[in-house]
């Protein structure tokens, strides 16, 4: 992976904190401080109790592969192809979308155990990726 052209997220009140945690190698899951419901992707209100108060937990980073795709075409500057993208079922119960590294596309299997790691671009931007793990 390289950086030139990677489309960085806009950092707003609703998502910037998550990327700040990622920069510190924390995979954060937003949590309602009122009813403790976890939610991802982050949003400002809890859809169960309408609370606007939230904090987050640090996820274990362990999960399994719920689905995946492999991006081949079209190819955009700033990304190296093919790109495997995982939909990860985290052991906390939430799902997250991230790149899958350290495995050939043909070897990917549904349900395989995964573990988060953090990849830093040369410009310092850090993003969570997942790689194959031993059985959880």
């Amino acid at each position: 992976m390289q950086t030139a052209g990677r489309i960085k997220p806009p950092m707003t009140a609703d998502n910037g904190w998550w990327w700040e945690q990622a920069a510190q190698q924390v995979l954060a899951i937003q949590r309602c401080t009122s009813c403790e419901t976890l939610r991802h992707p982050p949003r400002p209100m809890c859809n169960r109790c309408r609370s606007l108060q939230w904090d987050f937990i640090a996820a274990s980073g362990r999960g399994t592969l719920a689905s995946y795709t492999v991006l081949e075409h079209p190819q955009f500057p700033g990304y190296q192809y093919p790109i495997a993208i995982a939909l990860v079922e985290l052991e906390e119960g939430e799902r997250i979308t991230a790149q899958l590294v350290g495995i050939e596309p043909d070897d990917i299997t549904f349900g395989m155990p995964l573990q988060v790691s953090f990849q830093a671009d040369p410009d310092g931007f850090v993003l969570p990726v997942f790689e194959p793990a031993e059985e959880n």
Binding site: K8, A66, V70, F76, I85, L87, T97
Partner: protein, 390 residues
């Protein structure tokens, strides 16, 4: 269902431009030509139009199209969000305006230089139109920039869950191409596609190949909606709106609804199905033909189940048995659809449905077509429409 829109309004006019890869004209020109052709088809003077509806993604303002076509006083103008998810939402907006007495004649359209101008399949980049920048950013950062990349995740999960072979996708692509081969307006006119051709097409985002993806088209398509009574006095056989709805459900995102319980189905399309069947009093067995939204082949497979034409996981058999092809139980996208006719964001699929009801569509099935089902964009806030014949 209270507040039913059943039978209140009808599609009384259909118009389109030439569909091409390079129109050489502006999107406003395409929109105006499509609208003018639509009014000509219906036999309605532009001055009679009092409502206009299009897509938030459409670059032509209502008043600019009105200036070109000679439309005067307007009581209602609206744009519907969510890309191709807007398609039958335009019809619902128009039908509501007519049923409530706000409008008498509403023209709806979509016109785009989708190949020579902004290409949807070429990625969102920094130019994303949606205000929901944060939503897209969770995906863009990893290189998921195209509809195919977002749609593939759910499609792959579905195929894995129900053991759907790649051949099912190939069959959808080649079946719709077979229809397009005899449609002079279609990209696929006189260009057959074999299964071998399908498998030779470039992989885009597994499991989706280039031939699983719709066209990118320059063109416009417009429809006139008026009261069912008034439609009877116009030139064409009315395609009566038996039921129409928009549909969005809990956990809804735009093609990235990855975080709700079931990620191997289309809950918003099931909701749309429930609504249009209840409103119309019809069921899957009453539907004679379909124009299901087909930005990608997998969307056809999954929708056959959403709309109850077969059970969960059975669409692969339904397709293998030839039911969506010529002479089948449910001929689907007999013009070639977005895959092989043109990508006018679904409005051309509604146009084909209206023509099937009139009985003069290209590849008109050799049977009575009383009811046609149409759907909007898949995996986004969507909708469904059932047209019928009086």
């Amino acid at each position: 269902m209270e507040n039913s829109l059943k039978n209140q309004a009808a599609i009384a006019g259909v118009g389109q431009t030439r569909y091409s890869k390079e129109s050489g004209v502006s999107e406003l020109s395409l929109a105006s030509e499509a609208v003018a052709n639509c009014l000509e088809d219906a036999g309605l003077a532009p001055g009679e139009v009092d409502g206009m509806v299009s897509y938030t993604l459409d670059s032509s303002d209502e008043i600019e199209v009105a200036q070109c076509v000679g439309i005067g006083d307007l009581n209602m103008f609206a744009k519907i969000n969510y890309g191709g998810g807007a398609a039958v939402g335009l019809i619902q907006q128009a039908a509501m305006a007519i049923a409530s007495g706000v409008c008498n004649n509403v023209v709806v359209w979509r016109a785009m230089n989708g190949r020579s101008g902004r290409r949807m399949g070429q990625g969102t980049g920094q130019q994303i139109v949606s205000s929901d920048l944060i939503h897209w950013s969770w995906y863009q950062v990893y290189g998921m920039l195209t509809p195919a990349s977002w749609v593939a995740m759910i499609a792959h999960k579905y195929m894995h869950t129900y053991n759907v072979p790649n051949d099912t996708l190939a069959s959808v692509a080649t079946t719709q191409r077979q229809f397009a081969v005899s449609n002079p307006a279609a990209f696929g006119y006189q260009k057959p596609m074999s299964t071998e051709d399908y498998y030779h097409s470039k992989m885009v985002s597994y499991p989706l190949r280039v031939f699983d993806c719709c066209q990118e088209t320059d063109g416009g398509c417009a429809l006139l909606i008026t009261s069912t009574e008034r439609a009877k006095s116009l030139k064409q056989t009315p395609a009566v709106i038996r039921a129409v709805t928009q549909a969005s459900v809990q956990g809804q995102e735009q093609m990235t609804s990855f975080y709700r319980d079931d990620i191997a189905s289309l809950p918003e399309m099931e909701y749309a199905a429930k609504r249009v069947y209840a409103m119309s009093g019809l069921g899957p067995d009453d539907i004679d033909a379909a124009c299901l939204y087909d930005a990608f082949t997998t969307e056809i497979v999954m929708q056959l189940e959403s709309f109850g034409f077969c059970g969960r996981g059975e669409a692969k058999d339904f397709i293998a048995d030839g039911h969506i092809g010529p002479g089948g139980r449910l001929p689907n996208n007999t013009h070639g659809g977005l895959l092989s006719e043109a990508y006018i964001h679904g409005v051309n699929n509604i146009a084909q449905a209206a023509r099937l009801i009139r009985g003069n569509a290209v590849n008109q099935p050799d049977k009575t077509v009383d009811h046609v089902l149409v759907s909007s964009g898949v995996g986004v806030p969507t909708g469904a429409l059932i047209l019928g014949r009086d």
